[in-house]
Symmetry: C2
Amino acid sequence: MIFLNKNHMGRIKRQFIQDAVENAYEKMRENNYNMPDRMHVGDNDNTLLLMPCFSGDFFSTKLVSIFPDALKYNEPAINGVLVLNDNATGKPLAVMDGAALTAERTGAVGGLGVKYLTSDDIETAGIFGAGVQGLSQAKYLLLNRTIKRLYLNSKSCASAQKLAADLEKEFAQTQFIVLDNPEKLVKESQVVIGATTSSIPVFKADDIDLSNKTFIAIGSFKPDMQEFPNEVIVRADEVYVDTLHAAKESGDIAIPLKNNLIEQDKIVPFSNLTRKIDFFNNNTYLFKSVGMALFDLTVATAVFRMAQKENIGQKLDF
Amino acid sequence: MIFLNKNHMGRIKRQFIQDAVENAYEKMRENNYNMPDRMHVGDNDNTLLLMPCFSGDFFSTKLVSIFPDALKYNEPAINGVLVLNDNATGKPLAVMDGAALTAERTGAVGGLGVKYLTSDDIETAGIFGAGVQGLSQAKYLLLNRTIKRLYLNSKSCASAQKLAADLEKEFAQTQFIVLDNPEKLVKESQVVIGATTSSIPVFKADDIDLSNKTFIAIGSFKPDMQEFPNEVIVRADEVYVDTLHAAKESGDIAIPLKNNLIEQDKIVPFSNLTRKIDFFNNNTYLFKSVGMALFDLTVATAVFRMAQKENIGQKLDF
């Protein structure tokens, strides 16, 4: 058995991780997986999510804990451990830092949204949120597109500035611009990525032409959390979700549905896309991700295989 | 974070582990724990059990896989991983070999049955089953009582002989006797422990006086698996279970209940016992265990604390 932490995972190429997420969509098309509904355990204000998934030669279980009060102890609110097992014998093969794995795979899910739902020649982008996912979304955006100007917005200006400084080290060809004005960020960006835990939309759409833009919503994971205003999904010519559960799990879909602003059949699984969409002038596209255990499984599998090949990780004498 | 394998756990004193199981019963009496029903995931012939439990300063999740075909690959059918977390922050603290932990805690559960439900001066005992649990039950039996003659029976005579040889190395004062005849084992033993995966009772009671005997049933974990014949539970003056779930989960309780051979209220939680029972001549006692996540949690907690104190285990750079 091997143990893989954040640093070990950082040594795996992003393209390889994104390909693993693409493999998850293939498995969805082939209906070649077994992913029961995740188990929610509540304990006072804390939550434990247990996310198992079986497919092919492996199965995995991700344990995610959400402890809001951890911040008081200067610890992260979200922690995770993923266990990867052999699907022929059940034998445990690897234990991974689940938070690091989630950060990478969620970045890659957004990256695939960019790959399939934006034009090759886009030059501007904006990201809301400067946390772990702001960073990860930026990295996978820049894996897929050569962005000249990347606008960053966060409730905390200092966080956005730190994110810009971190990204500048790796991506010299991109100009990172911290913007206080959310509406300006949307106006200036051909692709807009939401990576916040905001409960209310992070910008007002009243005065913005949403045409020729792709929106990627990553942050909202509860029915009462909404990152983008209703105008985006109403205006969108095409709306994709990583899983149809998003319609219940995320306010970005659930709220406009509940208010009858859109029809249910406007929501299309991202796995239906087998190639980059044909872009039409003035169109607006929306992709909403809530994540799922199948992504964890295919990414953990890929990471495990590469770790074995490249001798990455800490060996455990199981 | 630390990793603890079977060898690491073998260095923790058995008395310490048994005390941790006793602590689980205290928590049950105080209703001081949160243990949701475990999640069963079926995948073809394979099963994954997810067993979370919260109490006090820690929570744990045990992942147990049951892959019957693993034997074809010369791998064990049952594997497990336990993750122990800090209950203030959610932070993962330890990963343990779940099968090794289960072997120890289940031995200790049986050991407590012996401690509370047998007389101090018993000299004879019999164990059915020579697998991991046969070994573990013997070790914890001998932690609690000085047995002169310990009878061993297994479908495979060679396994019973190997078990006897293994036990002789540690317990020089006990005579280990392999017996082919199950009825003779019961007749000769003051305490009889079932540690098999048998679906049908391992002995016939017709011709046996069951008085002055304590029966400890560990093996059956499905409603159609029964280790001891109905006569035992019918004859028993007192019947204890580690959890009332046993009445549904194990055929040793479910079958006689279904056939109206006993009343539901004959089944008493072991946690009701706060001290050794008063023995009466000619009485028969039965204890049935099916296990639960709370045992895993209190034992994992104790093991973790001792491992930290004694510097046992492999450090993981989480």
